[in-house]
């Protein structure tokens, strides 16, 4: 059953990715409409498969790389659907949906094992921590996608190239607003995630902060986005500088997610 949902999700995300890429080349309201429907279908299948897995395993599927990647992908698509509903930014899909697809495919290629959950993970603080962390990562992914689009659009405006992609990309103002919303949603989520993580750490290991690599890098991410948000609110940082910083932030997120294992192993 989980497999069925999973393959359905991969198939639908694949179709949606192709459709979103096609949207860059072709303009057609019908295509845009069906592309969004494909993705919503994929998201529904993905959500059902995750719920099904959670019910079967009796825990949230966030405990290893495979489960986390799939959840990361789910969160990205969810966040994108939210922004697409609000701002009608089909082109953003062309940038982030392929990323979600890649993550999902990577997650299935990793080895899955059925196992007993280690006691260290059997804490509510851990679930809160993981859930919120992925929610914030999803917003940062969207922010990075928007930042890439912003830089492309800015390049077109500065070099006076007004091609088809220029027409497709949303206005600088819209992208700026989405980016700001991602920050104001992602950063508080990350803050709570880090706090709940440290509480979990205290419960599980007896210390709030153990300076392991994952914790340290999470803190670096927190500082990057805090700086971005601070600069935005106080000085009005936006445009190119903010875009570059969002991309750097996202690279660090990816690096932390893939490269940094907790020093504690389970």
């Amino acid at each position: 059953m989980t497999h069925l949902f999973f393959f359905l999700t991969v198939a639908l995300y694949c179709c949606a990715t192709i459709a979103y890429l096609a949207c860059i080349i072709r303009t057609s309201p019908l295509l845009t409409c069906w592309t969004a429907r494909l993705l919503t279908g994929g998201f529904t299948a993905h959500l059902l498969s995750t719920i099904h897995l959670a019910v079967k395993m009796k825990y949230l599927p966030l405990t290893n790389m495979q489960e986390s990647l799939s959840f990361f992908s789910l969160a990205i698509v969810g966040a994108f659907i939210f922004f697409d509903r609000k701002y009608k930014v089909t082109t953003l899909g062309s940038f982030v949906v392929p990323v979600a697809l890649l993550m999902l495919v990577a997650s299935s290629s990793l080895h899955a094992e059925v196992r007993q959950l280690p006691p260290i993970l059997q804490s509510n603080w851990f679930w809160i921590h993981a859930l919120l962390a992925f929610a914030s990562y999803a917003f940062f992914t969207i922010a990075a996608g928007i930042a890439v689009m912003y830089l492309i659009q800015r390049y077109f405006l500065k070099t006076k190239h007004f091609g088809a992609l220029f027409q497709k990309l949303p206005s600088l103002e819209t992208m700026d607003e989405i980016s700001y919303r991602c920050l104001t949603a992602g950063w508080p989520l990350l803050t709570i995630a880090i706090i709940s993580g440290s509480i979990w750490s205290e419960k599980a290991m007896g210390s709030y902060w153990i300076w392991d690599r994952k914790q340290t890098w999470s803190l670096i991410i927190w500082f990057i986005y805090a700086a971005l948000l601070h600069g935005r609110i106080t000085i009005g940082w936006r445009g190119k500088r903010a875009a570059i910083l969002s991309i750097i932030g996202f690279i660090v997120v990816l690096f932390t997610f893939f490269g940094m294992k907790h020093s504690i192993t389970w």
Binding site: T27, Q153, L157, K158, K160, F162, F166, Q167, L169, P170, S171, L172, E173, T174, E177, I235, G236, W237, R238, G239, K240, R241
Partner: protein, 433 residues
């Protein structure tokens, strides 16, 4: 029944001629009534815009009808026929259908793809419908033209891009500033292009205008016109940060806004983007302003480039539109040709005969020892009934054929007896609007 088109447009006549033959919408009833009272003209619609004056009519006599309408256009405006005759064009049959479809789809417009013409034809048709000068054929014909225009609009990108410098500026501003409804414009200097662009920005929802000019009175006058605020030229830089869109066209011999100013302004704006348009020659705004982050500078040449590219795109799209029109002409022409007396009578007879044969076959096949004599009698009996039944409608139809509104009868008969399955879905859709 034939559709004819007589008229003149920007392609055949100068504005001096066009304005002489224009029909005022305030008193359109008079010419419409006069038009359908012309000998041999059955229905008529008058389309009169600043770029074209055209009459669509139906008649049985193409040559006579066309000539009479041409005369009518001159006589109605008390003009000597010779002055307008060389500018007039006329079409009939397929060419007339094609012409009206192309006009409605804005393929014949001065700026291909401009959206006004469809509305203008709709209004003209509204008058004709109100004063009952259009009948079944022109009603169907114009609704078809509207649906063709809609198809062209949705299936091609003919009207999707700006083709004037002012519009290009608005489109570009939207790409930078998004929604223009809370944005402010600053006009530096005066000039036709600047004012036109400002009007376009205000029409697109821009909130406020600031005007500055070397002669302050002029700034005040212009500000009043736009409902904006006049700013002294000496201190306009101090107000520039309040503007999101800056339109500049002074006669200054050197640049009046440099990169240092732009940097300062952007900082004051808390790095909100600002959009400069420099229309002046020599330039008012230093090209280096474009290097300032969050400042975007465009000159008239850039806007012109966009317009040229859009025009080229439109012409490509126009080819697609012509294809759509060709398809639709075929369909409409088919319907039109069914509105003739003889084919209708034939179709009606065939229909009756079909039913008669079917019933006879049913009866005969179930009747085992039917003598051949009886079968013959049965045959002639049913034929006699059929002929009697058809006699009156046929003669009424033939008589009506000599007079005016035969198409009403024909259309009714065709619908009552389902003589042709007509494609009317698209027309009905259009009627609902």
């Amino acid at each position: 029944m034939n559709i004819i088109v007589v008229g003149l447009s920007h392609k055949t006549a100068t504005v001096e001629i066009r304005e002489k033959v224009a029909f005022s919408p305030n008193q359109i009833e008079k010419p419409l009534t006069a038009l359908i009272n012309l000998d041999g003209i059955i229905e008529g619609v008058i389309v009169s815009t600043c770029n074209r004056v055209e009459i669509y009519a139906t008649t049985r006599d193409i040559a006579g009808g066309t000539a009479r309408i041409k005369r009518f256009m001159a006589e109605y405006h008390h003009l000597p026929f010779e002055t307008i005759e060389p500018h007039l064009y006329s079409f009939h049959a397929e060419a007339a259908i094609r012409h009206v479809f192309r006009v409605a789809s804005s393929l014949d417009s001065m700026v291909v793809g401009e959206p006004q013409i469809l509305g203008q034809i709709k209004t003209s048709y509204g008058y004709a419908a109100e004063f009952k000068s259009s009948g079944i054929i022109l009603n169907r014909f114009l609704h078809k033209a509207f649906s063709v225009a809609k198809r062209v609009r949705t299936e091609t990108k003919i009207a999707s891009s700006a083709v004037s410098v002012a519009f290009a500026a608005v489109e570009l501003a939207k790409k930078i500033l998004g929604d223009l409804s809370d944005k402010t414009i600053m006009l530096i200097g005066a000039g036709e292009m600047c004012e036109l662009a400002a009007k376009h920005f205000l029409n697109s929802g821009a909130k406020g205008v600031m005007v500055t000019n070397r002669t302050f009175e002029r700034a005040v006058r212009l500000a009043e016109e736009f409902g904006g605020e006049a700013v002294p030229f000496e201190s306009f830089l101090d107000h520039l940060h309040r503007a999101d869109i800056v339109l500049s066209s002074t006669g200054a011999p050197h640049c009046i806004i440099g990169p240092k100013d732009a940097e300062e302004i952007v900082r004051k704006r808390r790095f909100n983007p600002i959009f400069f348009i420099d229309i002046a020659v020599p330039r008012d705004i230093d090209p280096k302003v474009d290097d300032v982050e969050n400042a975007y500078l465009f000159t008239v040449d850039h806007l012109q480039e966009i317009v040229q590219a859009n025009l080229a795109q439109r012409n490509l799209e126009a080819a697609k539109a012509e294809e759509i029109i060709e398809q639709e002409i075929g369909q409409f022409h088919k319907w039109l040709s069914t509105l003739e007396v003889t084919p209708t009578i034939v179709a009606l007879r065939n229909r009756f005969d079909e039913i008669r044969r079917a019933e006879i076959d049913k009866t005969v096949s179930g009747w085992k020892d039917l003598p051949p004599e009886a079968e013959k009698r049965l045959e002639s009996l049913t034929i006699a009934i059929m002929n009697k039944l058809l006699h009156t409608p046929t003669s009424v139809l033939k008589q009506a054929g000599q007079g005016g509104r035969v198409d009403l009868y024909i259309d009714a008969i065709r619908q009552l007896f389902e003589l042709e399955s007509l494609q009317r879905n698209d027309e009905e859709l259009e009627l609902e609007e």
